[in-house]
Symmetry: C2
Subunit: 254 residues, 2 copies
Amino acid sequence: MRAACLPAFASAAVEQTAAIIVIGNEILSGKVVDTNSPYLARELRALGVDLRRVVVIPDEVEVIAEVVRELAPKVDYVFTSGGVGPTHDDVTMEGVAQGLGRHVVRHPALERFWRDYFGREAQSALKMAEVPEGGELLLGEGITVPVVKVANVYVLPGIPEFFRGDFEAIRERFRLAPFHLRRVYLRTSEGAIAAKLHELLAAYPDLLLGSYPTVSDPAYDVLVTLESKDAACVEEALKSLLALLPPQAVLRWE
Amino acid sequence: MRAACLPAFASAAVEQTAAIIVIGNEILSGKVVDTNSPYLARELRALGVDLRRVVVIPDEVEVIAEVVRELAPKVDYVFTSGGVGPTHDDVTMEGVAQGLGRHVVRHPALERFWRDYFGREAQSALKMAEVPEGGELLLGEGITVPVVKVANVYVLPGIPEFFRGDFEAIRERFRLAPFHLRRVYLRTSEGAIAAKLHELLAAYPDLLLGSYPTVSDPAYDVLVTLESKDAACVEEALKSLLALLPPQAVLRWE
């Protein structure tokens, strides 16, 4: 058993962090279930980006500004979802601008894009062409609603199909070393293994070790996950864990 | 058409607000989809409580403390989900305590509860009996894992079955006047109706008006929602909206 895994935050130059801001009264009022943040959480994990926070907030300029002001300096990437359409409750651009201390300006290329799209509905085109000053358009295959990048904030549309199409089109710019994951399924209580997990973590302090009991899945009682960007470390820690646990408690691992 | 609905925030004594803090690396890493906050969002809406924010954060004492410190003074109720088990990553009690500026102490009744539950696994009982100083146990029918209430923070378990059972058992203490909701399904683009929605909102400034386009549902193009705790206002606003829209754009309302 070696002393430790490579820490996940060993190199600030390699480790990248992210936050997601989901903007929408419809989520907070329980009318719509947010599927964008679970999707993006999985994508970021596969890319090796460490998602640090998800925040769901109402369509209110001041609240958006406050959360952008708080999170943008803390993480490498902020993704917003929602509030970029033509109606009264679409205030994300204004909120992001305020949060970054910028003005809202009309983006000529975006105005052309929306004028082409809307045809005669010019009023919508004008509203949807407003972006925080310095905003950059990300266009490309699969992008229906252009992504606006301003500082480290990526503004994406809330409609799940557009959100996914947009993220897929820009995904590769975020790719880093991926995480390696092992899952161990157990037939035992969490209480009975807590001390063993402490012991494992003492030997591998940088291992990302998770323990998740279930009550409704008859197939197992507890799922233990071992994760690191250091694949060899995960394999060694898995061996150590299997040696620590009573063999009859281990159902299977993958 | 009367001038306005009763504002949602007309009386601070009647309006109640809430925030949900979901604690779990498994959510941020995309391994598990959070179903507790969508469930609680629906429940709070039905109870008439205004959910102002959902935050998903990692199992880290300092981050939990920071978010509790930020949100507890801002809303009437804070609900936390997860991080209350016996393993190394269960640090919610410590985080909530730090966030409220309290010590963690052992709660004798909770210790007895867990000793009865765990039998000989005393170590787990001791960890799971630790609560922020002044923490109150909420017990009752349907509660499997006791809810700990400290100040305005309600600490609930993360396992969905327990989370729901616990919330159902304490639900009635949060009941207020419910929101009334009307939905109007349209065959038109959001851009084409944006000006009409502005007009409606000018007449009913306190109406909660939502506009949600779909791209994958062939049954309609845009769903408009009208909400208020003032049921008569919603009905009047619905009539006004139907009068403002071209009749052929309206598919149905409910």
